[in-house]
C-alpha cells in the first residue's frame, strides 16, 4: 500500500504511521469544529477524542470513491457534535444566523482549508434561492430541526422540508454521489 493511499485505508490496513499522520492532518479541522459547537473547552477535547476513536473504529468503511477523506471525517465529526448540541439543547444564537449570502460572498480571509468538494457545494448553492440556502445553512451547519427552522423563518414546515430535500439533492448531484450506489454505506 503506497503513501498515496488515503490515510484511513492505511489505518484500516494496520499502518501505525498513518494513525499519527491522520491525527496531524485532521485534528485541527476537528478541533476547530468542536470549538465552534462546544462552549466548554474540556468538553470539546473529550468530544474530539470520541470523534477520533470513532474514526479508528470505522476506518475500514471509508470508501475513497464516494467522498474525500475530509468529508468523511466531517461526517463523523458532525454526527458527534450535532448530538452534543441537541443533548445540551443549546439553541443557536442569533449571531449564528448570519445572512447566508454574506457568508458565501466573503473571501480573502484565512478560513479553514477548502476542498474540491467544498467548491462544488458552493457551486450547487449558487443555483438555490436565498430561502433555500438559508434552510440548508440552518439545517446542515447549525443542526436545527425542521420544526425549529420553520418557526425561526416563518416558512411552512412542508416548505422547509422541500427546500432541504431539493438542496441536498442538488449538492449530491454536484458531488456525483447519486451514481455510486450503496456498496459501502457508512451507517
Amino acid at each position: 500500500m503506497s503513501l498515496d493511499t488515503p490515510l484511513l485505508e492505511r489505518v484500516a490496513s494496520g499502518d501505525h504511521a498513518a494513525v499519527s499522520a491522520c491525527i496531524d492532518r485532521y485534528s485541527g479541522l476537528v478541533w476547530s469544529l468542536a470549538r465552534r459547537f462546544v462552549a466548554n473547552e474540556a468538553d470539546a477535547e473529550e468530544i474530539v477524542q470520541e470523534i477520533f476513536i470513532e474514526l479508528w473504529s470505522t476506518a475500514a468503511r471509508y470508501d475513497a470513491t464516494r467522498a474525500s477523506e475530509a468529508t468523511y471525517v466531517s461526517m463523523i465529526a458532525r454526527r458527534r457534535l450535532i448530538d452534543h448540541v441537541r443533548r445540551v439543547a443549546r439553541a443557536p444564537g442569533r449571531e449564528m444566523l448570519a445572512d447566508v449570502e454574506h457568508l458565501l460572498a466573503r473571501d480573502g480571509e484565512p478560513y479553514l482549508e477548502a476542498t474540491s468538494e467544498t467548491g462544488r457545494v458552493l457551486q450547487a448553492m449558487t443555483s438555490m434561492s436565498c430561502e433555500q440556502k438559508q434552510v440548508v445553512h440552518m439545517s446542515t451547519w447549525l443542526g436545527m430541526s425542521h420544526a425549529a427552522i420553520a418557526e425561526r423563518t416563518g416558512q411552512p414546515l412542508g416548505t422547509v422540508k422541500s427546500h432541504l430535500r431539493r438542496g441536498l439533492i442538488a449538492i449530491r448531484e454536484q458531488l456525483g454521489l447519486e451514481a455510486t450506489g450503496g456498496s459501502n454505506e457508512y451507517r
Binding site: 490496513s13 477535547e45 473529550e46 477520533f52 477548502a114 457545494v121 446542515t140 422540508k161 430535500r165 454505506e185
Partner: protein
C-alpha cells in the same frame, strides 16, 4: 420522479439531519428495499460536504492543543493495543467482515472510570472493531510485547494535564536522518514513552540503544533513561525507565552503547528531542 422516490428522498433528507421516528424509519426501510442501489447515506455525505463548506467559510483554522494531540495518540495506542489483545479467529479481510465482534471492554473500562461525561469508548460499536482487527495481525507483529507500554501507563499519561509530547528533531547522524516520532513525558508521574519510526535495528548481543534525559535543574550529567532494542522495522513504542528523578527535562537523547548500557556515554547523540 415518482411519488415513492420523492418520499424516499424526503425521508433520507430528514434522516441525514435528525433521527426518524419509528414509523418513518420503517417506511424508509421499506422504500429502500424497493429502490435497490440507493445509498442511504448519500444525503448524509451531502450534508457533511455542505457542513464542511460552511466551516470553510465561517471558521478560522485553529491548531489542536499539543496536549490534546497527545491524548489522541494515547487513545489510539490504547485502542489498537486493546484490539490486539482481543482473541481473534476471524479473517483479516476487513472489508468483508460482517461478523459482530466483541467491544473492547478493557479500553472502555479504563475510560469509563475517569470521565464524567460518559465513557469515551462508548463510541466503539461491536462491528467497528473490525477495523481494529487488522492491528491484531499487523500491528501486533510490528511491536514486540516488551516494548509496548501498558494501557494503564498510556491512559494515565493521556489523562494527566502535565503530560507533554516533544517531537524528535531531524537527526544529522548517519543512518538516523529519517527517524521520526516523539517523546511523551510527565514529570509529575516520572513516566513516559518514546515513539520511534525509521530507527535502524540493533543486534542486542552487540549493541543496545540507551536513552538519556538532560535535566540541567538537577545535574550536568544526563539521567539514564534505560536501554532498549530495535529489532523490527516500523514504529515502536518504548517505555522510559528514568533511573533518577527528572524535574525539568531540557532534552531526550539516544545513543548506541554496549549491551546493558553505560554509566557515562561518549556519544554520539543519534536522535534528540529538545523541550525548549
Amino acid at each position: 420522479m415518482n411519488t415513492d422516490n420523492d418520499r424516499l428522498l424526503e425521508l433520507l433528507a430528514q434522516q441525514a439531519i435528525e433521527p426518524l421516528n419509528k414509523t418513518d424509519q420503517e417506511e424508509l426501510s421499506q422504500l429502500l428495499e424497493q429502490e435497490s442501489g440507493t445509498a442511504s447515506d448519500d444525503l448524509e455525505l451531502a450534508v457533511a460536504a455542505a457542513w464542511q463548506a460552511f466551516a470553510s467559510q465561517e471558521l478560522m483554522p485553529e491548531e489542536a492543543p499539543a496536549s490534546l494531540k497527545a491524548k489522541l495518540r494515547a487513545d489510539a495506542d490504547v485502542f489498537f493495543a486493546t484490539a490486539a489483545s482481543e482473541p481473534v479467529s476471524q479473517s483479516p479481510d476487513l472489508r468483508s467482515q460482517t461478523t459482530s465482534v466483541k467491544p473492547m471492554d478493557a479500553a472502555r473500562h479504563v475510560k469509563s472510570e475517569k470521565r464524567s461525561g460518559g465513557p469515551l469508548w462508548a463510541a466503539v460499536s461491536g462491528w467497528a472493531l473490525a477495523a481494529g482487527l487488522a492491528f491484531v495481525l499487523v500491528w501486533g507483529m510490528e511491536i514486540p510485547d516488551s516494548a509496548v507500554p501498558s494501557t494503564d501507563l498510556v491512559e494515565l499519561l493521556a489523562s494527566t494535564p502535565e503530560t507533554t509530547v516533544y517531537p524528535w528533531d531531524v537527526s544529522d547522524a548517519k543512518g538516523y536522518e529519517n527517524v521520526t516520532g516523539n517523546v511523551t513525558w510527565n514529570s509529575s508521574l516520572q513516566q513516559g514513552f518514546l515513539r520511534l519510526s525509521g530507527m535502524p535495528t540493533n543486534d542486542p548481543a552487540v549493541t543496545q540503544y540507551q536513552l538519556w534525559i538532560v535535566d540541567p535543574a538537577r545535574d550536568e550529567e544526563p539521567v539514564d533513561g534505560g536501554v532498549f532494542d530495535i529489532t523490527i522495522d516500523g514504529e515502536v513504542i518504548v517505555p522510559i525507565d528514568a533511573k533518577l528523578l527528572v524535574s525539568s527535562p531540557a532534552a531526550f537523547a539516544i545513543t548506541r552503547e554496549q549491551p546493558g548500557g553505560v554509566v557515562v556515554s561518549e556519544g554520539p547523540l543519534l536522535v534528540v528531542a529538545t523541550t525548549g
